[in-house]
Assembly symmetry: C2
Homo-oligomer: 366 residues x 2
């Protein structure tokens, strides 16, 4: 992916805010701006940082384990190593680069690390400026290349779902199915799941975030399967609620209701409407049928390099959507002791509406 | 696990430091003190926090998803929900509990979250005191119950290793083997791997932290397999270097050398010696054979609820080991273009020596 225009935008932002540089530690942001794909094992085990200068060539610092990969992938960046870690490097680099005001990602720096960075900054007369959304703001609207990758991720996820779905039998455990999903993903070429797959059968489906258990699937009950994968860096996320054998009347009624809400939410998508309005379009359908209290979560969220990112579709999100945003639409109804129904598709927001990314219709229109 | 004595120790520490309470956000620490086993999806998606008061009943706060689990597991704690999140709750709770000095885990709080917490603290005239090791200090020495769990984790990991090892064939890809390892772990009852399994064959073994690739296993070359699982909350970590078919002379020589270093390191373990001394005992063996530069990492690390925790066995660790610590002993030699040899066992430090936790000897004494 070409990132020159992104870097130009960041540089403009830095100059406008009188910042000399931005330190990028968040792994998705790092990848987005540089093309360097290494992830972090944890927030304590970084595989590198970017230093985007208001004026000058962008820099990537890493350690010897990632040297070759960074050189190969981050083609627009000058790659250097920090043999003794980031802080000693900044100690010599900040004065050399004449950095006076340094922005950092406050939402991806531990307080303990910040304290150490502050010592280095003070010694070099550098002011630290916490930021939270400089790169995220850019990530929210996807370009054509990103949309193509997300679509491939969605379609591969559906392929995995269909293979698993056709192999479902009563007597399999939720955990066994979840494991097969994740195996199948990797076998078909995904880097891995984009979140822990959820398989919640019968009453377990009443928890929106159920963890796969030893419970065995039975005929006739709703089984909520929420799954997503990462392909070429980009995430997918989809939920289907399926039944082995014949669904009873209650299940059919609720499935149709949730689907109606999903269609209403999807139809409400377009550039210029707020996340709140889209949420309301779907929520009204469920509330009108008397299940408002049983739909306890937001309607959807953005998806990209992260499986949960901006924007949100919920009651509190008053900002407007733009063309190129990718969101999930996932209404649900959860009945304690009975189970749950959730249906989730992904769509791209366009100027005048949306483009649905999912093609699978299993149990959507029964 | 009974945690009363742990809480009593924390309370004493708080009183000594004139702290009114400690906010525990780090998931392993939370589990260690309370018995509440839920993990965090990420540092941004907490499943709860503890508030340990210098005087008074310990508190656990979570949201409705985890209510029942917290009540069932954290038996010594008063469980409450924070329907609007932690910060609004603290806003009412800090004055009510007469908290004036509040300690928090600086190494598990994001700078952005700290800033919000600081606003709440200021409004309530509360001083925030960053801490990094209050709970970790206790976790480093394991009790009998923890040692039993760690041993079960080690033995299950060996069982998985042996099953995978006996199924290894030339032509399998590293990735395929890594995937089978993780499947087998879950099938045998583990919660999952304790880190991403490493399978590095031939030249790929020259990277100490190689990621499993599409490379196919071949006869005669060393294959480094580094794997660990989580059982009942506790981690295991083991490395074997194996060869399909007959190893050549170079491989045998290096395997014997690394094994000799491992035995020297293990023999050096006992309460009272420093991590640095144990590291040196193993390193000397490898350096004497002329491979000092090819053993670029520390000899070992502590293992418990986390797969990497205190203490360390390396050149910079000058603190003394104590009885009840659990460490890995994992020397290695890495030759660019050729491959790597690493052997890793886990042992408990005792007053007069050590107790080895591993029983498997595959390719250890050839």
């Amino acid at each position: 992916m070409k990132t020159d225009h992104l870097l130009a935008t960041i540089r403009r932002t830095l100059r406008r805010r009188r910042l000399d540089a931005l330190l990028v530690c968040q792994p998705d942001n790092r990848r987005y701006l540089s093309g360097y794909t290494a992830g972090d094992t944890s927030i304590n085990e970084s595989s590198g940082v970017l230093l985007i200068l208001a004026h000058g060539e962008p820099l990537l610092f890493t350690d010897s384990r990632f040297d070759l990969q960074a050189e190969a992938e981050a083609t627009g960046f000058k790659v250097s190593l920090y043999p003794r870690g980031l802080l000693p490097l900044l100690d010599t680099l900040l004065p050399k680069l004449k950095i006076r005001r340094l922005a950092f990602e406050s939402h991806y720096l531990l307080h303990a690390t910040y304290q150490k960075l502050a010592v280095v900054a003070k010694r070099n007369h550098v002011e630290l400026v916490p930021c939270t959304d400089v790169v995220e703001k850019l990530r929210v609207r996807k370009n054509e290349d990103e949309l193509a990758r997300i679509e491939r991720s969605v379609l591969l996820n559906e392929k995995v779902f269909l293979e698993i779905y056709h192999g479902l039998r009563p007597g399999m455990s939720e955990r066994q199915v979840a494991l097969s999903i994740e195996n199948c993903m990797v076998q078909k070429g995904a880097s891995g799941p984009s979140f822990e797959s959820m398989v919640a059968s019968g009453p377990n489906g009443a928890l929106p975030h159920a963890v796969p258990s030893a419970r065995l699937l039975r005929e006739g009950e709703p089984i909520v399967i929420d799954m997503g994968l990462i392909l070429d860096g980009y995430c997918s996320d989809m939920t289907r609620t399926v039944v082995l054998g014949t669904p009873d009347e209650k299940t059919v009624t609720l499935l149709r209701l949730v689907r109606k809400a999903q269609l209403a939410g999807t139809q409400a998508l377009r550039a210029g409407v707020t996340g709140r309005e889209v949420d309301r379009a779907a929520r009204t359908v469920i509330a009108a049928a008397g299940f408002g209290q049983q739909f306890g979560h937001g309607l959807g969220h953005g998806v990209g390099l992260a499986v949960h990112e901006a924007p949100s579709l919920n009651k509190r999100y008053r900002r407007k959507l733009s063309a190129g945003m990718v969101v999930t639409v996932e209404p649900g109804i959860y009945l304690s002791g009975w189970g749950g129904i959730r249906l989730e598709n992904m769509a791209v927001v366009t100027e005048h509406g949306h483009r649905l990314l999912n093609r699978d219709t299993t149990f959507l229109d029964i």
